[in-house]
Amino acid sequence: MSDTTVEDEATMAGDQHGATVTLSMQQALNRALDEVLAENPRAVIFGEDCGRLGGVFRITDGLQAKHGENRVFDTPLAESGILGMSVGLAMAGFHPIPEVQFDGFAYPAISQIVCQIARMNYRSRGTLPMPITLRVPSFGGIRAPEHHGESLEALFAHVPGLKVVSPSNPHEAYHLLKYAATRPDPVIFMEPKSRYWHKGDVDTADGGTPTGAKVLREGRHLTLVAWGAMTARCLQVAELAAEDGIEVEVLDLRWLKPIDAESLVTSVRKTRRAVVVHEAPLTSGLGAEVAQLITRGCFDTLKAPVERVTGFDVPYPSGDLEDEYIPNIDRILFGFQRVLEYRRG
């Protein structure tokens, strides 16, 4: 399944000293975790099937064999247990990197995430930090069973004490995970599972700044704001729009908490129009927060209200209806058509 893992020394040899390599996101994440384990003896990886199997998505493939069963281990099948255990390990001075196998499996652990992980630093007045990096394969798009395609970013971002990040490509995945896994605070790391097998160039030596948002494509007519798997779709839309002479700027938000308000405002002050795209349901989604930050910072220059192109207020549907639910190219185009054609009344 994976052709570049820690076990495959041959493919690793060419870039030992930091060069640009082509990796899938799965490979990039695997490599990042391998390096985190090597660099921080207190880092431990655990979860359901993370050890021998290497995880159902093979993100931890080969790591137990290389780093040992004390560093990478399987737990019983209970998410509250995994996250509750993370709190205790963090209190004992470890840097836990637990995995919740699928987004929807975070629900049984919500109490430990919200009431414990997010609050322990505060409750203990900073004496018990929670350097926990929770990896969550997230979002939809793979025709999976129920509870395997959820977008929980608004839920997590609403909780004081949590930080939330989502990479959009292999390069971002590698660098953001290495950064997140060395932070002293809890970070929910939302991996866009539909992008695991897409390849891209990873410059292992230069990741640029690991915080804030990132402009993936420059444009002057309209800003598309997205994160995770939706950034790739927005780049496709930008390509199509360019054929019609519309120059779309694509902003990869990356950090969903804290949100980089400054980059949002800088981009939209230039383009004067914005559409935010996410897979999560519309109502009280993170798009509302983004729209408010843009409106507040760009009210005088905005040519139209900020539009949202999102999933619907419905339970995430079965695979057959998945493409109807996830914002597709047409819906995004309609969204920015509304923005471009907006006339003040």
């Binding site: 509750g84 205790g88 209190m91 836990p96 109490s111 203990s124 949100i259 400054e262």
Partner: protein, 344 residues
């Protein structure tokens, strides 16, 4: 019930007369502080309190077994007696009941007592994680987590016992079965009537002990710690005791149990019972008891003074203690709060 194999290191030896007197003094101090705290709530000094009246033997006996140079304890919100026994600053501990800071102002790392936990069974899994960390580090330190008969209904307790057993984590699950979860009695809470009996299903050794006998509780806890320290995995102790007071100072037990039922259920007062025993064994005399009572009263008075002197925490701590690395949004909210509150 006792399915714990006896350790052979002699750690379970009966306490010396000096230790017995210390145990009594601790119980007397805890009793006095507990009664005082209820009074302070009625006087408006603190807004609320969760009494542990009747659980002094269970708390002092178990807390006394802790080695604060290496072990770590995970309390609920009703372990004042454990905190006092472990030597935690009681003004800093009681500050949570003064609504100064959730979790208390004491340093959990230095005092080896995790912050006060308001979620029922919330910290039981933390003990398992901490204990597994000791295994990974090759340490012989032990985690002890407190829970009640009510908490035993929570799924996290099952997950914790299963994880601990699978990983052979050095955890003592110390259950204080005090008969009541607010208004619901144990028979409507714990199927089968015993939390300790469940341990067999996980392959965990268990002890059910008279929770109102401080010496028995201490011996059971020491045996459990010795078992854990030797790498044998977790132990469940169920200390059978009775919540003599209300669930909290907001509770009204008259709505769910009569005074007669309370008298019958509570049995003999653990403090009185220990006193009789020490007297009968010639370990302590009237003068000692009078002295213990006087120093308990003096201690409570000092704690009251400390609590009354305790002002509110500066509001900027709300923002500053959320993260180790703060965020721009928090910084800007802190600025707004400061600017806008100055006009009030």
């Amino acid at each position: 019930m006792d399915t714990l194999p006896l350790p052979d290191d002699g750690d379970t030896a009966r306490p010396t007369p000096e230790h017995l007197r210390e145990l009594y003094s601790l119980m007397a101090a805890v009793r006095h502080l507990d009664l005082s705290a209820v009074a302070w709530q009625r006087q408006g000094i603190i807004p609320g309190y969760a009494p542990e009246l009747g659980q002094e033997a269970a708390q002092v006996g178990s807390g006394y077994a802790v080695d604060t140079s290496r072990d770590f304890v995970f309390p609920t919100y009703r372990e004042m007696g454990v905190a006092r026994t472990m030597g935690v600053s009681m003004v800093e501990y009681m500050s949570t009941h003064k609504a100064t800071w959730h979790g208390g102002l004491y340093d959990p790392v230095k005092s080896r007592l995790a912050p006060i936990q308001a979620v029922v069974a919330g910290s039981v899994l933390h003990a398992v994680g901490w204990a597994h960390g000791q295994t990974l580090d090759g340490s012989d330190a032990v985690a002890m987590t407190y829970l009640g008969d009510g908490a035993s209904s929570q799924g996290d307790v099952h997950e914790a016992m299963n994880f601990a057993a699978v990983m052979k984590a050095p955890v003592v699950f110390f259950v204080q079965n005090n008969g009541w979860a607010i208004s619901v009695p144990t028979e409507r809470q714990v199927a089968g009537g015993s939390v300790a009996a469940r341990a067999a299903g996980y392959g965990i050794p268990a002890l059910q002990v008279d929770g109102n006998d401080v010496v028995a509780v201490l011996a059971a806890t020491r045996r459990a710690f010795a078992h854990c320290r030797s790498g044998n995995g977790p132990v469940v102790i169920e200390a059978m005791t009775y919540r003599r007071g209300p669930h909290s100072t907001s509770d009204d037990p008259g709505r769910y149990r009569s005074l007669d039922e309370e008298r019958d259920g509570a049995g003999e007062d653990p403090l009185h019972r220990f006193r009789q025993q020490l007297q009968a064994d010639g370990v302590a005399d009237e003068e000692f008891f009078a002295q213990a009572q006087a120093s308990a009263a003096a201690e409570a008075e000092k704690i009251r003074e400390g609590l009354e002197a305790l002002g509110p925490r500066p509001g900027n701590e709300m923002f500053g203690l959320v993260f180790q690395e703060t965020t721009p949004a928090l910084q800007s909210q802190a600025v707004s709060w400061r600017e806008e509150s100055e006009h009030v």
